[in-house]
């Protein structure tokens, strides 16, 4: 089956810093989503981005499907950005998740 790998596993930033999170996947996909899981466990949709680039405020994402990776950019980080970031790719009807990047933004 498809393998999804995320890096780095852990990231500590000072408020205001920028960061890049990476998601590699082992096979071609036609659906990729980025989520932010808050401390209460809620998965919040950030981007649905099977290919190309999208931006939403301080966050942007790029997926290069032919090279099997996606990047999530966080600019001017805030303490509320803390949590776990997951990418997930679709295989048939199911989403396959990576193991996540745990982000801590310090004030």
């Amino acid at each position: 089956g498809i393998q999804v790998e995320q890096s780095p596993p852990d990231l500590i930033l000072q408020e205001g810093a920028n960061s890049t999170l990476r998601c590699n996947f082992s096979d071609s996909v036609n659906n990729l989503q980025w989520f932010h899981q808050n401390p209460w466990g809620q998965l919040i949709n950030l981007f649905y981005i099977p290919s190309g680039t999208k931006q939403n405020g301080r966050l942007s994402a790029t997926t290069v499907a032919t090279e099997r990776y996606s990047l999530l950019y966080i600019s001017s980080s805030q303490t509320t950005d803390s949590g776990v970031y997951f990418c997930a790719v679709r295989s048939s009807y199911k989403l396959i998740f990576g193991s996540g990047t745990r982000l801590l933004v310090r004030p």
């Binding site: 036609n30 989503q33 466990g41 998965l43 679709r90 009807y93 989403l95 193991s99």
Partner: protein
């Protein structure tokens, strides 16, 4: 526009018991998927329901079963609970017509003692 809702929020059960978790999809969605998330890991797919039928199943034993109702809401049932079933159970909904983006509920945290 109501998002995906799940009940209950938390649940404590004893080994060997049975549990039922409930999910109502986002308005306009007709497909419900269930995921299990163990501590420190990414969510794992259990199964997906569409048109009241199980459309795809992940690598979970038959102790895990589900149902979808005509109003698209869904239940997840787990029989003969094991300690290892302790996890966050997440429901996701989507619209089959567009096929793709899944939206998640707040989850049910199950503890088996």
């Amino acid at each position: 526009d109501a998002g995906v809702t799940q009940s209950p929020t938390h649940l404590i059960k004893t080994r060997g018991q049975q549990v039922t978790l409930r999910c109502s999809p986002k308005s306009g969605h007709d497909t419900v998927s269930w995921y299990q998330q163990a501590l420190g890991q990414g969510p794992q797919f259990i199964f997906q329901y569409y048109e009241e039928e199980e459309r795809q199943r992940g690598n979970f034993p038959d102790r895990f079963s589900g149902h979808q109702f005509p109003n698209y809401s869904s239940e997840l049932n787990v029989n003969a609970l094991l300690l290892g079933d302790s996890a966050l159970y997440l429901c996701a909904s989507s619209y089959t017509g567009t096929g793709t983006e899944q939206y998640f509920g707040p989850g049910t945290r199950l503890t088996v003692t």
